[in-house]
């Protein structure tokens, strides 16, 4: 029984991590139809900003929850202005440009920090479950994942910015005619997505090591989750992460992490074959 709880926590944790990784990408994809292949590197920048802040004696919670989203959102806003803005409406070109950007960021991070592993210690200790031990921090990751998703929902649904953003995405010309500064909305949305990536990077920094090329292992999974989820950022992310996360954890538990990863990828290929527009392209179409 205790072991079942332990394994259950692992499963939920897998799903939550996947959702946390994907939400920033999903917002940008869902709202702007842009696939940001530098998303993984945005997360890594979040992790590095957390590590740097922590080593400068910033409070650990501030270092992982406050610093990364702000730092990466600022970087995201700059990148939007310099690069992304020139490529709106050209999906393939944007993907290629952000791919170049991701290489560029990996290179810059390697130059600044070297290729060895940095890190932030986990701020929570272990928790007892009957005779077993589990990580308190993985419960925190689950919690933060839920908080983030609810937060995004509130921003999109209840704030004026969210309203303007959704309006602009549905019909940019109409919004512009009504006096909305659409280019500012795009910029803000992109920066918001980047900030979410930074937050994910900050939260995950204590469990995974921080090194320049780790973004590569994030982007694959996040990318697949977002495409699998389809156009509605929130519902898509949640349903797709639940599905892929479950498949991944199940295969990992039954065999090893490699086949966990492979099972996830196979599930993704089948899903896209069956639902080319993702889960929310078919179901929950009116959802957010």
């Amino acid at each position: 029984m205790d072991l079942a709880i332990l394994v259950g926590i692992d499963f939920v944790n897998g799903v939550a991590t996947l959702a946390l990784m994907s939400i920033g990408l999903a917002v940008v994809f869902g709202m702007m139809r842009i696939i940001n292949l530098a998303h993984g590197e945005f997360m890594v920048m979040g992790s590095y900003s957390a590590a740097v802040a922590y080593h400068h004696n910033v409070n650990i919670w501030v270092a992982i929850l406050i610093v990364p989203p702000i730092a990466v959102a600022v970087i995201g806003a700059i990148i939007e202005r310099v690069i992304i803005r020139r490529l709106y409406g050209r999906m393939v070109e944007t993907m290629l440009a952000t791919w170049g950007l991701s290489l560029f960021i990996v290179g810059i991070l390697t130059t600044i920090f070297g290729s060895h592993t940095e890190g932030v210690p986990a701020p929570l200790s272990g928790i007892k479950v009957g005779n077993y031990q589990t990580s308190g921090y993985s419960l925190f990751v689950i919690l933060m994942s839920v908080v983030t998703i609810v937060g995004v929902y509130v921003v999109l649904r209840a704030t004026r910015l969210g309203l303007l953003a959704r309006g602009t995405m549905q019909n940019a010309e109409m919004a512009a005619a009504l006096g909305v500064d659409t280019s500012r909305i795009y910029a803000t949305t992109f920066a918001f997505g980047a900030g979410l990536a930074g937050l994910a990077g900050g939260i995950l920094a204590p469990i995974s090591g921080v090194f320049p090329s780790i973004g590569g292992s994030y982007i694959g999974r996040a990318f697949i989750t977002v495409i699998g989820g389809g156009p509605a950022p929130l519902v898509g992310t949640v349903t797709a992460s639940a599905m892929f996360g479950f498949v991944n954890q199940l295969a990992t538990f039954l065999s090893n992490p490699v086949y966990g990863e492979v099972a996830l990828l196979v599930a993704a290929v089948i899903l896209i074959r069956l639902l080319p527009n993702g889960i929310t392209g078919r179901y929950f179409r009116r959802a957010l």
Binding site: W99, L101, L103, G107, I108, V258, L265
Partner: protein
């Protein structure tokens, strides 16, 4: 000038340059540089395969390294088991072509298009990468070959004269083989694009539904193009393995796929000559970057890709075809005209 020559001027120019390189480079270069150029030639073949399916078929393949890697592994496994490299070359092209056909059937007949094709191909590459990477255990063998996981397969024999395993090709022969292969692939593709099949394929790229209204099966055309691209990528993989004597899972990596796309962006999508030049240029750049310690290689490659997407979206091919090629042709043209004049004088 003969009308055939005029209408095929660029083709002939490429042929002349190709033969000049084929004969001239081994004489002009020292062994080490020739080895390096051979690699560029192999990558040019790889670039051609994607240039064909992306530039002309409009199929966005983000996971092209799946075919390259599969060809490479197929060659390595079969050549070690068989000993003679003749059959393995065929296998190295057939397997990727089959994979492409299966994958193409899976995607095109479900009417999956565009970015989603990119995602699926990328995912398939990731699957290969993960699976091959996890074959380090002693239980993973095919015949006499241990797949070796992360380390890959070392000591793969090079090509030999067909049906004579003892006559192994030296570095210079290897260069000739690769160069001839490149020219065969290039002219083969050019010919294919001129035939009805090629014209329909380009039409599918431009407007799939219109082509279908005219009664052509767009899906089949894409499927065939995709399989041809897969076979060519497999050939490149096979030559690559023979060149280096090893193969490792990095052949399947996303980075490898990205490389090919960068070659195309730099060279120019929608042309065949551009990607070949792009492949050689970028490979040369990557190799040179490693000999210095000041700038990280990724920074440069990233900047190059960004710069081309933003500033030179058509790549360098237009510069080649619109400026260098006419110049080259005018150089050639001046001589034959003198000859024809003198012949007239005699009669």
């Amino acid at each position: 000038m003969h009308p055939f020559v005029r209408s095929n001027a660029s083709l002939i120019a490429v042929g002349v340059i190709g033969i000049a390189l084929l004969v001239g480079l081994p004489l002009a270069l020292e062994l080490f540089t020739l080895l390096r150029v051979t690699l560029f030639v192999i990558f040019a073949i790889l670039a051609l395969s994607l240039a064909f399916i992306w530039g002309y078929g409009g199929i966005l393949c983000f996971g092209h390294s799946a075919f390259f890697g599969l060809g490479a592994y197929a060659y390595a496994v079969s050549v070690i088991n068989v000993g003679d490299s003749t059959l393995p070359i065929v296998i190295a092209m057939a397997l990727p072509a089959l994979l492409a056909a299966a994958l193409g059937y899976f995607m095109f007949y479900a009417r999956i298009s565009d970015v989603y094709v990119g995602v699926i191909t990328l995912t398939v590459t990731l699957i290969f990468y993960n699976v091959v990477n996890s074959t380090a255990g002693p239980q993973y063998r095919i015949g006499d070959v241990h797949l070796g996981g992360f380390n890959g397969i070392p000591n793969v024999p090079s090509l030999n004269v067909p049906f004579d395993p003892n006559a192994v090709l030296g570095p210079q022969d290897m260069f000739w083989v690769c160069m001839v292969a490149l020219m065969l692939v290039y002219f083969g593709l050019r010919m294919l694009l001129r035939m009805r099949f090629g014209r329909v394929l380009i039409a599918v790229r431009e407007n799939e539904s219109r082509v279908e209204f005219l009664g052509y099966d767009a899906r089949l055309h894409k499927l065939i193009a995709f399989s041809i691209g897969g076979a060519i990528a497999g050939l490149a993989g096979c030559l690559f393995t023979a060149w280096g004597g090893f193969i490792s899972p990095t052949a399947f990596s996303v980075v490898q796929s990205a490389q090919i796309i960068i070659w195309l962006m730099v060279g120019g999508v929608g042309t065949l000559i551009g990607p070949m030049i792009g492949a050689a240029l970028i490979s040369w750049l990557t190799a040179s970057l490693g000999s210095q310690q000041t700038v990280d290689a990724n920074v440069v490659l990233g900047t190059v890709l960004l710069a081309f997407v933003l500033l030179v979206p058509k790549g360098i091919a237009p510069i080649v075809t619109d400026q260098l090629m006419p110049w080259f042709l005018s150089m050639c043209r001046s001589k034959p005209s003198v000859a024809s004049v003198s012949r007239k004088d005699k009669t």
